[in-house]
Symmetry: C2
Subunit: 284 residues, 2 copies
């Protein structure tokens, strides 16, 4: 496994890989790797000749009030895990390699970026789309792998790639969960033992909704109310949102119909820690 | 010469060219080709194996009040001229191929896009950067050629390419002029004979400034005042701007110093026709 921190060096290496007709799979991350990230690396390795992992805690997707400074980092452990999972190349740029002084260019995906997470983190997706576009241009992969846990991110990135004609395919890989159902997240380390236990309600509330929909409940309000009631029994600090939205345009559904593909995204705080989770399903 | 109107078809052709290790030069235009465009095609042909020309009157760079509908078009004549100049592939997409229903993604280059042309055409450069990024992703050229006549555009595109790590080089080719100095422009056909004659003052005013600077005049206000006085003698409808700006950040210069690289851009209306021109120079 080779590690690069400078753009010209990784470009040169990847040019050689492309010239050798090697398929390149790419897994962009903010590091502090968990089983979710490793599942992306493993899938990329199965489907490509070369796997590139980037580790970059991207400042432009954090608001000033958010956890940029305390976001967990452990590069040495990340490198070990990445190598074990089959990663070939790690790209760990310093901030000024990605955003040199005088940086001015940003990509925005309108509408999709202003709902759900966008209501609570209004500048977040502009930072995500901009850094992912940069990374895709640096790595020029055949396939880029993202986790379904950040479902809105994956839908926005798919839209950006289609709209801007980027020559890459996106693969969205199912969320990996702890044994008790909590979605893997680098931010789970922020939770104290009580919060950690209470947080398992998020996945249970999604399973409840899945069951209710399977049993024929087609009223999103009733489904969300039952989820909310269940979550409220587990001492959340705040429920930012629990919603049922169209999987294409992320607009709220007011009635479910057979054949609808929907996302149930939620964002809930336990203590100061904000967790997100979701399921995607097609109404039978 | 082959013409494509659909993205998948031109992509396939260009993939074959890249696999054959052919260098690809790209000339994006809005058509109605003149000697300026042809000089870009010829330079591209000298420096590459394959030259791709795009002809697309991009609606997102026109404001509702502007000349999108009456912008001159002559695809048949363009094809003839392009072939004679050495073009290999022409890409002429319909609007819905470039902007399908539900298009949401835009690129903006802050600060550089709000001055000069941006003050008079506030949405213009967002349209330019977005369509050029799309075209660069479709064609994936080694080099893209732009004319110096649209100097602010070329500076903004260079910045976008650097900031977003696009794997392409930009070449800015000197402005081609009529025998009497008027910069070649597809919009020159709008001018009536009197306006056409008066419009030659624009280049003469730039030459005056060049002479004054060479003679040691370092006060931008005096230089611009002399240019403005000269232009006003030729019946312009309106002078939008005549300025002396830094060639990197497009900010106005208040004093010239030896070694400064500067742009003198201007935009002047004759009748309803808005013309732009510029020179770039380094102060001795």
């Amino acid at each position: 496994m080779i590690t690069f921190s400078q753009i010209p060096e990784i470009r040169l290496q990847l040019k050689a890989e492309r010239n050798a007709r090697h398929l390149v799979g790419f897994v962009p991350t903010m590091g502090f790797l968990h089983e979710g990230h490793l599942s992306l690396i493993k899938k990329a390795k199965q489907e490509n000749d070369i796997v590139v992992l980037s580790i970059f805690v991207n400042p432009t997707q954090f608001a000033p009030s958010e956890d940029l400074d305390r976001y967990p980092r452990d590069l040495q452990h990340d490198a070990l895990l990445a190598q074990q999972a089959g990663c070939d190349i790690v790209f760990v740029p310093p901030v000024d390699e990605m955003y040199p002084s005088g940086f001015l260019s940003y990509v925005t995906v309108n509408e999709l970026s202003t709902v759900l997470e966008g209501e609570f983190r209004p500048t977040h997706f502009k930072g995500v789309t901009t850094v992912v576009l940069k990374l895709l241009n640096i790595v020029q992969p055949d396939v880029a792998y993202f986790g379904q846990k950040d479902v809105q991110q994956s839908i926005i990135l798919k839209k950006m790639i289609a709209d801007l004609n980027l020559p890459v395919r996106i693969d969205v890989v199912p969320t990996i969960r702890e044994a008790d159902g909590l979605a893997m997240s680098s931010r789970n380390v922020y939770l104290d033992p009580g919060q950690r236990k209470n947080a398992t309600v998020l996945h249970r509330s999604l399973l409840l909704a899945e069951t209710n929909i399977a049993l024929g409940e087609h009223d999103p309000k009733k489904i969300v109310d039952a989820m909310t009631a269940m979550i409220l029994e587990h001492n959340p600090t705040q429920i930012d949102y629990v919603k049922i939205v169209d999987a294409q345009n992320l607009q709220e559904k007011h009635i479910l119909q057979s054949g609808d593909t929907i996302v149930l995204p939620l964002a809930v705080r336990f203590g100061a820690t904000r967790l997100i989770d979701n399921i995607i399903l097609t109404v039978k």
